[in-house]
């Protein structure tokens, strides 16, 4: 059991634009192993929702099965959550978002939940561009079933028992970009400076936003030899720093000319990217794929906002769905009445 929330800390009394404190975004106490990367992601999601001042009850949390999929219990206790079945959260999220397009949807999954049993649903979720934030807590193993290799375990990475993984790992970020995801980011559970703004930007994005978060499993996959251990990840990280400025906040921060690049999202929010190196373009799919791949080849994990199409058309738009949430419609809008039925009968005589 680990406590992600120290009880007395000053910033917890601060209020966001809606007057909520960060405690209003807390969930239940985590039952994951102490030090599990997933808890840091929970904290980052909580902080991101607080910072972005989204009313907690207007967020719906969905997940599959796994240690990672348990996470939604540990943040946003005032939001409804749905812990569905292994690998099938994408379909549940699709239905939920169609039923009420006015809520913000956060999906949390694991590398097993997404890259193995759920691969089909994941790819189709991207294809449909469901308006949601989808976070994979990627530890390269199946935590909940005690440490088996997952499909994202890197080639040559060594399991706790010493077995060497003979298969190439699936790179979820590349895959998402290839399939046309309109927002793709990657981060590390320990890098809250990067992860929090990335989550905020993902939630502001209109369409499917995917974040692959390397999240070490301290119990089964945090030893030397594992490429998803804390030490290995820290050593090989190649982070792009970023800031997120929501639409309603005036821009207070000033950035030195030339060192930042700004991207405006559909809703008017702005993402500022601080480039270590110059030339990375978030709207260049081929460039993004190349950069990720060259990173992988050089044993570097490129993190940050990897690809963004701020003008993507989400599923609601493509289905030409009415603006009013479907779950608010009643008999008057839905039931055509007896006269219409009579004319249908007439056509069948």
């Amino acid at each position: 059991m680990s406590y992600i929330k120290p009880k007395f800390r000053h910033p917890r009394l601060q209020k966001n634009a809606l007057g909520f404190t960060v405690a209003d975004y807390d969930g239940a106490i985590s039952t994951l192993c102490a030090g599990c990367g997933h808890d840091s992601i929970s904290a980052a999601i909580r902080n991101a929702c607080f910072e972005s001042a989204i009313p907690p009850h207007r967020i719906a949390k969905v997940s599959g099965i796994g240690c990672s999929s348990k996470m939604p219990t540990y943040f946003l206790g005032k939001s409804h959550g749905f812990n569905s079945v292994h690998g099938r959260m994408p379909s549940v999220a699709t239905g939920a978002s169609l039923a009420n397009r006015a809520l913000t949807y956060i999906g949390v999954s694991g590398d097993g939940d997404t890259a193995s049993i759920g691969m089909g649903q994941f790819i189709h979720l991207i294809r449909r561009n469901v308006n949601m934030t989808y976070i994979v807590a990627n530890n390269g193993c199946y935590g909940l079933t005690k440490g088996q290799d997952s499909a994202t375990a890197d080639l040559g990475s060594v399991a706790k028992g010493g077995a060497v993984n003979p298969f190439d790992g699936i790179d979820l970020a590349s895959l998402a970009i290839l399939q046309g995801a309109s927002f793709v980011g990657r981060s590390f559970s320990g890098d809250k400076e990067q992860l929090e703004p990335l989550i905020r930007a993902a939630m502001a994005h209109n369409g499917f936003a995917f974040i692959d978060v390397v999240s070490p499993c301290v119990t089964f996959n945090n030893h030397t030899g594992s490429t998803k251990s804390y030490s290995n990840t820290r050593e090989h990280l190649e982070p792009m720093a970023l800031d997120f400025v929501p639409m309603r906040e005036e821009i207070r921060t000033q950035y030195a000319e030339g060192s930042t690049q700004s991207v405006t999202l559909h809703d008017g929010s702005v993402i500022h990217l601080h480039k270590a190196d110059s030339g990375y373009k978030t709207d260049d799919r081929m460039g993004a794929l190349n950069a990720i791949q060259s990173g992988n080849d050089a044993d570097r994990i490129l993190t940050g906002l990897l690809y963004l199409d701020p003008n993507s058309k989400d599923l609601n738009t493509n289905l030409n769905l009415a603006t009013r949430p479907l779950n608010e419609l009643g008999r008057r809008e839905l039931c055509p009445g007896s006269k219409v039925l009579d004319s249908i009968n007439e056509g069948l005589r």
Binding site: A28, P55, P56, H57, R58, A60, V62, I65, P72, T73, G77, K78, S79, H80, G81, F82, N83, S84, V85, R88, P90, S91, V92, A93, T94, G95, A96, S97, L98, A99, N100, L103, G120, Q121, I123, H124, R128, L319, N320, L321, A322, T323, R324, L326, N327, L329, R331, E333, L334, C335, P336, G337, S338, V340, L341, D342, I344, N345, L348, R349
Partner: protein, 628 residues
């Protein structure tokens, strides 16, 4: 030689090649009889193939209004040389065989107990039409013309139908009428018309059909309309015969009836999912979030949905599933009908699960029960499965017209809104406040700080907090069982009819018959046949699972109860034995699982043989049905 006689009471069968346009001509034939006011029931018997294989269309005409299959063929129209041998053999002695005589009939196809009518359809069309496609299409219309002469079909009705079908396209109308006339005149000129089997306008002696002005429609379209009227807004599916046309029809109606007048946008969403797991997942996600959602599938899809059905049962999420059954297992015979998903659906999923099932027997019931299913699923907070089948779903059935009560109020079940959440003293998602096993749910986004909870497939306590305590688990699953008891109050009751009086009964046994869905029509007919022979049989038509208490009573009050169904293992019989406190030996299976719908004659024969066997006299159940 004997000639089969009969006015408004015979079976015509067409032997065609699929993909040749015969379907619309055959439909024209059946619809003309329907418009003449004579009870008719057409059935497609088709292969799992798009083009080039044998396909049949069987039309039963029955003044008494029997809409199930009778068995046997009185008049065969054979335009497919591939299947001719089998088709000749299937005609009843004294029956009629119409064939394409462009090529002479092979000698081995000559029977001396049936009547042959050779018409050179192909040759006539080659002569008349320059274009090969037209030759093929209109050949079908020519044989309908010939049948108009043979059976005395009202020509003006046929013309009226063509007018409706090709509204405004004069050229098409006149070429079709011309083809009809060609066939008609050929038959008149070469044979004595009409035949001893023939039609007579308005010759309908079926009281139940005369009562209301009937319609001709298939069950899938009716179910789709039921979903529209029931207020479904999210449909997710993966194509599979024979359920595909449910969602197709839903989409078409929704495009017409569910467009927001202000914005022109859709007040519905249809998702063609990547597979059936996703299809039901979408519907469950939508149901969780407060809309009426459904999916439609057939056997293999039902299997794929099984894990999610377990989740929806345990997490108590409303969702409607329309299962249009076909022959299994596996792909089985995908275009043939069966009632063989009963057990798979009733106990769908791992762990202790029981699902609510509805069994429609007519398109009207497909409509009513689908609309009701949405009330039921939200009232009970559990999946509701409509058990249709290929025969009902894809064939046209005469049905009482669809009716709608404009005062209907949706029953959204126990859902608390923000105000109610403020007023309620203590709320727990799984607190059984009313003692009926149904608890109060809340929807995401309702209240700023009340009513949020976590939905999960794992165990929890009454306050929706994760719990692995054995007591919490037992309390929860026991409550689900209580809820299933409550369901009996809400699901449609079984139907019984007054017994048919029998003057000199041949048996002292009190006999009963249980059946459901498409087995009902031929069962009623078989029961009437047997009543005439001296076997009185009481009937009960099952319409839902959980079973109503009156079914136990029905079984208890009879010595022998026939359970008539269309699968190998007597699945309904087994379900009854499992669920009711009754002596299993009383239930005798009457089965048909060849893929073609069960016939009245077969039912009557099996029951007759059972009653005449020594076993039945000793009130002992025959061995073959003792396997439980």
């Amino acid at each position: 030689m004997k000639k089969i006689k009969g006015i408004n009471d015979f079976v015509v069968k067409f032997a065609n090649v699929n993909g040749t346009g015969s379907a619309s001509a055959n439909h024209l034939f059946a619809k003309a009889i329907f418009r003449m006011g004579i009870p008719v029931s057409p059935r497609n018997i088709f292969p799992s193939n798009i083009q080039g294989l044998p396909t049949w269309y069987e039309v039963r005409v029955s003044a008494k209004g029997y809409l199930g299959r009778r068995g046997g063929v009185d008049l065969m129209v054979c335009v497919n040389p591939q299947s001719m041998e089998k088709d000749v053999a299937s005609v009843e002695p004294g029956g009629y065989f119409v064939y394409d005589s462009t090529k002479p009939l092979a000698p081995h196809l000559k029977r001396d107990d049936i009547h042959y009518f050779g018409i050179p359809f192909t040759q006539m069309c080659m002569r008349e039409y320059p274009n090969p496609r037209l030759q093929q299409l209109l050949k079908n219309v020519v044989y309908v013309g010939a049948l108009a002469a043979f059976l005395d079909i009202d020509f003006s009705v046929l013309k009226g139908l063509l007018n409706d079908q090709f509204k405004g396209k004069e050229r098409l109308i006149s070429s079709n009428v011309h083809a009809l006339e060609m066939g008609y005149h050929y038959a008149r000129d070469h044979f004595k018309c009409p035949l001893p089997i023939r039609l007579k306008k308005g010759g309908n002696s079926a009281p139940h059909i005369r009562e209301s002005e009937h319609i001709l429609m298939n069950g899938n379209t009716a179910a789709a309309l039921g979903a529209i009227y029931g207020g479904a807004t999210v449909a997710a599916w993966y194509p599979i015969t024979p359920s595909t046309s449910v969602v197709d029809a839903f989409s078409q109606y929704a495009e017409r009836m569910r467009i927001d007048p202000g914005s022109g946008k859709r007040n519905f969403a249809v998702v063609q999912a990547e597979d059936e797991l996703a299809a039901i997942g979408v519907a469950i996600g939508a149901g969780w979030n407060g809309v009426r959602a459904f999916t439609a599938t057939s056997g293999p899809g039902l299997s794929l949905m099984s894990e999610f059905l377990g989740l929806a049962y345990f997490a108590e999420i409303p969702v409607v599933l329309i299962d249009v059954q076909r022959s299994g297992p596996s792909t089985g015979m995908p275009t043939r009908s069966q009632q063989s998903d009963i057990l798979a659906a009733a106990y769908a999923s791992h762990g202790d699960t029981k699902q609510v099932l509805l069994f429609p027997a007519t398109p009207r019931e497909c409509f009513d029960m689908t609309a009701d299913a949405f009330d039921l699923t939200e009232r009970l907070q559990t999946p509701v499965i409509l058990m249709s089948d290929l025969d009902l779903g894809m064939n046209d059935w005469m049905s009482p017209p669809l009716e709608w009560d404009d005062d209907y109020q949706m029953d959204r079940g126990k859902v608390l809104d923000a105000q109610q959440l403020d007023e309620v003293e203590k709320w727990g998602r799984y607190l059984d406040v009313d003692g009926d096993g149904i608890c109060y749910r809340t929807l995401p986004g309702t209240h700023p700080d009340k009513g949020a909870y976590f939905t999960r497939g794992s165990s929890k306590n009454e306050m929706a907090v994760y719990s692995e305590s054995g007591d919490d688990y037992v309390q929860n699953v026991d409550r689900l069982l209580r809820k299933f008891e409550t369901a009996k109050k809400y699901v449609p009751r079984p139907k019984t009819h007054d017994p048919i009086p029998v003057k000199n009964p041949k048996t002292d046994l009190k006999l009963g018959a249980l059946f459901f869905g498409t087995s009902a029509s031929p069962s009623y007919e078989a029961v009437e046949m047997l009543a005439k022979e001296g076997y009185p049989i009481d009937t009960m038509r099952i319409r839902a699972f959980p079973f109503h208490a009156s079914m136990d009573a029905f079984i208890h009050s009879h010595d022998l109860v026939f359970v008539i169904e269309q699968n190998r293992d007597g699945q309904m019989r087994r379900l009854i034995i499992n669920e009711c406190e009754i002596p299993p030996g009383k239930l005798v299976s009457v089965l048909n699982y060849s893929g073609t719908p069960i016939t009245a004659r077969k039912i009557a024969r099996i029951i007759r043989e059972t009653l005449q066997s020594d076993d039945a006299k000793a009130n002992v159940v025959p061995l073959h049905s003792e396997t439980v």
